[in-house]
């Protein structure tokens, strides 16, 4: 009896608590590591993470539900339950538990705030008392409110007295009327606020009327508001000031009593939390949830391999998590039935620490590296391993973003003869920090391969002269067409018209292209027409002007002349922009082919990556017939050119060119993940999803997305690399 009861108390069931509330899915059940540590930190009346077995926690759903059934049985005598709780509480003093946990190895988990006797009023006649706490794990803060077990409240008596005997009388009357206790264990636990990361919280409002109870309302990022928390003995101010010490709060401009929680703050922290990477990791680990859609032979072939990898992952995750949270893990498994929590936890955690040390898991080392990895310790270690393997360098989240690469610094990358000494270091530098405008022309030519790899300064200069000559000849070909010849080339005429029209509709809001038929427009037109001649099989397709425009802008920057360029200067700029465009088109040409093969291959890859990395999102999209991913079409076609302001596109592209192959796919994925909660909490059909994505344009934050794209790429590891490679192979002409 005891086991299930306690499990019920500790885990509750997300599904029950929030029917259809997908936004909450994964906040607890899919974060076993967090849950374990926090469970340990919080244990008290609920007696540790006793109900929580080892990670992954999925099998626990069953026991949880079993537990519920027992508890939920209206026939079950409440008195017996109370006895159980009472017995448990007698064994475990509340305050000592915390230090105990810290000793046990979760020194990164800290309870920074506790307020007893905070109530919820699910209905006017129903009051549930509980403890509000703030728990800090690494740099993530969690908010938690757990109801006291009936009769276990340290403040139960005094608060009951404070409210007078009438409430007890009313409760008793209601209990009789409903044939059950108003504050039955089921009701109590249903309202429990299991540790919610502050990143999941959108706003906190206080209501402090001069008369009546002070209360606080928490609104989650999904828009769901939790029932108000009533501070019966005051202390709202103290709560908020404690919160402010640990998390950036911004007072809402609209309502002075409301604080926005995730408006500022450490963007890395926030983006990591927002990504719910634990969630993401745990998803595929649950083998039962990994399913390959019928008829997808390619994926099916990978399945065996995948499962192998997942099994490895699972094992490693278990190792890691169990070493990090040794105390609570052992508590959850071995210590459960016999002894009181006080005795058990001490012994078990000692044992665990010993075991971890014996196992040679390098606990300290792991912990150090995990420090930077925020909440999802075990997860990030895995990523780190694969990332280092993948990129041959440290992953993004361990580095602060360096300043953009200057021209002077760029020159340090060349050896005495002007060879790029260490291309990998150069790319990494560009990827991390971006490039100053002054250094962009050269840096971009290096990145795009306009400059041959390994060429000396003299060779580059010679090649540039040759490029200029070739471009001039190509441009002369179409420029020299006479009227009669033109009359016979209807296709060419049509394409000329089209390019003319589109150049006039490309980046005209940018000052560089603002002038109607200005020099920049003419140069852009020349480049596109020359490319049309150069690659007649493909011809001109809409979207190309979007790709060429930033290239021309950057190459123009290499000429210091202000205002109008001379013809010679213009030819030089055009030539370099043309070859840069040609180099970019060598990579993206297939995006524009008439059969859309490359686009479909990339959309399919995106789909596979979502399936791999975020099965809940995949299932959500699948149920709404949104798996075509057509809403990402524009993102992929022109590499997010329309989704960011012009200047940011420059930074975006250089980062993508310098990054791992397929990083643009992960960027699309990152965009979806950043809006995951919104997507999951909405019942959008394809149309809605498409509209949502189109309207994200101009609202995206580049740096967090870039960082998380890289994170996702590392996270997807070799499986992701295979998916990307397959898409890129299908995309090559």
């Amino acid at each position: 009896m005891e086991g299930p009861v306690l499990r019920e108390g500790m885990l509750c069931t997300e599904q029950e608590a929030l029917p259809g509330g997908l936004s909450r899915e994964g906040s607890m059940c899919e974060r076993p590591q967090i849950g374990l540590a926090l469970g340990a930190a919080l244990r008290d009346d609920w007696v540790g993470g006793r109900g929580i077995g080892g990670p992954p926690s999925f099998p626990l759903h069953e026991t949880t539900f079993e537990g519920r059934e027992e508890i939920g049985d209206p026939e079950a005598p409440p008195a017996e339950l109370e006895d159980e709780y009472e017995g448990v509480c007698a064994g475990g003093g509340s305050s000592e538990e915390y230090s105990d946990v810290e000793d046990a190895g979760s020194q990164h988990t800290e309870v920074v705030y506790v307020k007893e006797g905070v109530c919820m009023f699910p209905s006017p006649k129903q009051r549930i008392m509980g403890r509000l706490s703030l728990i800090k794990q690494y740099r993530c803060l969690f908010l938690c409110w757990l109801p006291y077990a009936a009769g276990a409240s340290p403040l139960e008596d005094c608060s009951s007295t404070a409210n007078g005997g009438s409430s007890n009388g009313a409760a008793a009357a209601a209990a009789e009327a409903h044939g059950g206790g108003v504050e039955s264990a089921k009701d109590r636990t249903m309202y429990a606020v299991h540790p919610v990361p502050l990143s999941d919280v959108r706003a906190i409002s206080k209501h402090t009327p001069p008369l009546g109870q002070h209360r606080v309302t928490v609104t989650l990022a999904s828009g769901v508001s939790l029932p108000s928390l009533h501070f019966q003995t005051g202390g709202v101010k103290a709560f908020l000031s404690c919160l402010r010490q640990h998390a950036p709060l911004v007072r809402s401009a609209d309502d002075p009593n409301t604080w926005l929680v995730n408006d500022t703050g450490d963007p890395l922290q926030r983006s990591l939390c927002s990504l719910e990477l634990t969630d993401v990791l745990i998803g595929p680990l649950a083998a039962g949830r990994w399913q390959v859609a019928e008829g997808e032979a390619g994926l099916r072939a990978q399945l065996g391999d995948l499962i192998d990898r997942f099994q490895q992952l699972t094992q490693t995750a278990k190792d890691t998590a169990s070493s990090l949270f040794a105390g609570s893990v052992l508590l959850g498994t071995a210590g459960a039935p016999e002894a009181g929590p006080g005795g058990t936890s001490g012994a078990a955690s000692n044992g665990a620490a010993g075991a971890a040390a014996e196992g040679g898991l390098g606990l300290e080392e792991r912990r150090r590296s995990s420090l930077e990895a925020s909440t999802s310790l075990g997860v990030f270690e895995l990523i780190e391993g694969s990332a280092a393997e993948a990129a041959g360098s440290s992953p993004a989240w361990t580095r602060a973003r360096p300043p953009p690469l200057t021209l002077a610094e760029l020159n340090t990358f060349f050896d005495a003869e002007g060879r790029l000494a260490n291309p990998a270091a150069f790319r990494q530098r560009v990827h991390d920090g971006g490039v100053e405008p002054e250094a962009r022309p050269e840096a971009w030519k290096l990145l795009l391969g306009v400059h041959a790899p390994g060429a000396t300064r003299a060779e580059r200069a010679a090649a540039a002269a040759e490029r200029r000559r070739r471009y001039q000849a190509m441009r002369a070909q179409w420029r020299g067409m006479d009227g009669e010849q033109m009359a016979h080339c209807s296709k060419w005429r049509e394409r000329c018209t089209r390019i003319d029209k589109d150049v006039r509709r490309t980046d005209r809001s940018h000052r560089f292209y603002a002038r109607e038929r200005g020099q920049a427009g003419t140069m852009l037109r020349n480049i596109l027409l020359s490319y049309e001649r150069f690659n007649q099989d493909l011809g001109y397709v809409q979207g190309m002007s979007d790709l060429a425009s930033p290239l021309l802008y950057v190459m123009r920057g290499a000429v210091p002349t202000a205002g109008q360029l001379s013809n010679e200067e213009a030819l030089g700029v055009e030539a370099e922009a043309f070859w840069a465009f040609k180099a970019l088109m060598d990579r993206l040409e297939a995006n524009f082919s008439s059969d859309s093969r490359a686009m479909h291959a990339q959309l399919l890859a995106l789909r596979s990556l979502v399936q791999l990395l975020d099965p809940p999102l995949y299932a959500h999209l699948e149920a709404r017939e949104c798996l075509s991913f057509f809403y990402c079409y524009r993102w992929l076609l022109i590499w997010m050119k329309r989704e960011f302001p012009f200047e940011e596109v420059l930074r975006l592209w250089e980062a993508l060119w310098a990054g791992v192959p397929g990083l643009h796919l992960y960027l699309c994925l990152a965009v979806l993940e950043h809006h995951r909660r919104q997507i999951l909490s909405s019942d959008w059909a394809f149309d809605d999803m498409l509209r949502f994505c189109v309207e994200l344009s101009g609202k995206l934050k580049l740096e967090p997305l870039l960082r998380d794209a890289e994170l996702l790429a590392s996270y997807a590891g070799p499986v992701g690399r295979d998916i990307v490679a397959a898409a890129l192979a299908a995309s090559s002409i």
């Binding site: 929030l18 828009g223 769901v224 029209k501 509709r505 397709v541 809409q542 002007s545 075509s628 189109v694």
Partner: protein
């Protein structure tokens, strides 16, 4: 604002015929000759009133170039109305109508109301397609026809509103099952695009 129905429209036709300008004229009442060319799809929305009923038009403005046809096709689904646009100064845009129509017939709901639009009527000195030709084509294919100018706003309101009127008449006659969203009509009293976020407690 509440509305009785939401109609999904799609604007199709060759590139450069003025689809985006028509949309902007209708939703913002302005003509903007300089705007970025459409890649994929853009959206617009406006509330109109038919027979005292508030109707929200959700308008999808698609890219015109053939290379995007395969993606454009995925947008037809659930459209209640379509504006098929050509440019009266460019004959080829008129000649491509048949293929557009074929696409629409193939991928859209058969009950979709299609309005044929000859745009750029203000450029009558450069006219390459006569009004009669437009009328004739519309008649042959059972379309409603109007010549418009997104620049001067000539007939722009009518183009969108007459289409809505036709759809509304179809609803009244029972041709649509309003509860079936694949007809591109949502009967609604609230927001259709973004359902109000549930504000619920842990039950």
């Amino acid at each position: 604002m509440s509305y009785a129905y939401l109609f999904k429209y799609i604007i199709i036709g060759d590139t450069g015929v003025g689809k985006s300008c028509l949309l902007l004229q209708f939703t913002d009442k302005r003509f903007q000759p300089v705007h970025d060319l459409t890649i994929g799809v853009e959206f617009g929305a406006r509330m109109i009133s038919i027979d005292g009923k508030q109707i929200k038009l959700q308008i999808w403005d698609t890219a015109g170039q053939e290379s995007f046809r395969s993606i454009t096709r995925s947008y037809y689904r659930g459209a209640a109305g379509a504006l098929l646009v050509y440019d009266i100064t460019r004959r080829e845009t008129f000649e491509h109508l048949a293929s557009w129509l074929e696409d629409a017939r193939q991928h859209a709901n058969p009950n979709m109301t299609i309005m044929l639009i000859g745009n750029k009527a203000d450029l009558s000195h450069r006219r390459a397609v006569t009004t009669e030709e437009g009328e004739q084509f519309a008649k042959e294919h059972g379309l409603v026809f109007l010549e418009t100018s997104a620049k001067t706003a000539l007939n722009v309101e009518e183009a969108f509103i007459n289409t809505a009127r036709a759809i509304h008449a179809k609803i009244a006659s029972g041709a649509f099952d309003v509860s079936n969203e694949s007809y591109g009509i949502k009967a609604s009293a609230g927001q259709a695009w973004q359902p109000p976020q549930r504000v619920v407690a842990y039950r």
